[in-house]
C-alpha cells in the first residue's frame, strides 16, 4: 500500500508531503504518525507541505486532527511551507487551522520544535 514516509530526527518526526494526496493516504498518514509518536516517544512532529498546491477541507481537517492527537500524546506539531495561494484559499474556504502552529520553512519549523514546549497562549502563532 502507498504510504508517506516518516523520518526520525532525534526526538522529532519529519514528514514531507510530495504527492497529490488522496483521502486514504491522508488517513494512513494520520494513523502511522500516531503509532510512530508512541513507538519513538517523539516530542514533536514537523509536516512540510511546501509541495502541496491545494489543501481542501478534508486535508485541512487531517492536519488539524494530527496536531490535536499529537498534543494528546504529548508531542507538538508544526506545519511548514504552506504556499501563499493555498493559505488564501484555505481561509476563504472557512478553515484557519486553529491550534496548528505554522512556520514559513522547515528551518524555522525545526527551530520552533527545538525551542521546546509551546508556552501557553502561543498556540497558532507563526515563527519569525
Amino acid at each position: 500500500m502507498e504510504r508517506i514516509p516518516i523520518l526520525r530526527m532525534g526526538p522529532f518526526l519529519l514528514v514531507t508531503i510530495q504527492v497529490d494526496m488522496h483521502d486514504r493516504l491522508a488517513l494512513t498518514l494520520q494513523d502511522d504518525l500516531m503509532t510512530q509518536i508512541r513507538d519513538t516517544s517523539a516530542r514533536g512532529v514537523l509536516i512540510d507541505i511546501s509541495a502541496l498546491d491545494m489543501v481542501d477541507s478534508f486535508i485541512g481537517r487531517m492536519i488539524g486532527n494530527i496536531a490535536a492527537m499529537a498534543r494528546v500524546l504529548d508531542a507538538e506539531t508544526v506545519v511548514t511551507g504552506m504556499q501563499p495561494a493555498v493559505a488564501i484559499t484555505l481561509v476563504e474556504l472557512g478553515l484557519s487551522l486553529p491550534g496548528v502552529r505554522t512556520a514559513l520553512d522547515v528551518e524555522r519549523g525545526m527551530a520552533l520544535l527545538t525551542q521546546g514546549r509551546d508556552p501557553q497562549g502561543q498556540r497558532g502563532r507563526r515563527a519569525r
Partner: protein, 135 residues
C-alpha cells in the same frame, strides 16, 4: 458564449478525485487564471467532487472551458444519482454536515467560485454547476 472544450471524468474512487483535481487545474492554467484563482477553483472542485463520491454515491464531472467575448471562464458540472439534498439552504450553511466532516464543502465552494447553483430531487440525484470567470 462559446464552449471551447469539454472534458468528462468519472467520480467514483479516491483516485478519480485526484484526477478530477488535475483536470480542473489543467483547464484553469490553459484559461490563464492566476495561481491564486487556480488554487481556489481546484479546491472548490475537490470539495464538490468529494461530495459527489461520498454523498451522491459516485457520479461524474464535466469541465468546460468557456469564452464569452473577451472574458474566459471555467464551468464545472457535478452529477450524481444519489439520495439528493433535502434542504439545500441548510446544506450550504457552514458547519452543517451529515458525513462527519467540517461542513465547509458546499458553502466553501460557493465562496471560491463566481457562481454556484444546485438542483436536487430526493431519490433522483443532485446536479451542481459551478462557474468562475477570469476577471
Amino acid at each position: 458564449m462559446v464552449v471551447e472544450r469539454v472534458d468528462h471524468l468519472p467520480l467514483r474512487t479516491d483516485e478519480d478525485l485526484v484526477r478530477a483535481r488535475q483536470a480542473v487545474r489543467e483547464a484553469a492554467v490553459a484559461l490563464g487564471f492566476s495561481l491564486v484563482d487556480q488554487t481556489k477553483i481546484v479546491t472548490a472542485a475537490s470539495e464538490l467532487a468529494r461530495n459527489t463520491i461520498r454523498h451522491g454515491g459516485g457520479g461524474d464531472m464535466q469541465v468546460e472551458r468557456l469564452r464569452d467575448g473577451r472574458r474566459s471562464g471555467v464551468r464545472l458540472t457535478f452529477v450524481d444519482q444519489g439520495a439528493g439534498i433535502p434542504d439545500i439552504e441548510q446544506a450550504l450553511r457552514d458547519g452543517y454536515t451529515t458525513g462527519g466532516g467540517l461542513g465547509l464543502g458546499l458553502g466553501g465552494a460557493r465562496r471560491l467560485m463566481s457562481d454556484l447553483s444546485i438542483s436536487s430531487r430526493p431519490a433522483e440525484g443532485t446536479t451542481i454547476v459551478a462557474v468562475r470567470w477570469r476577471q
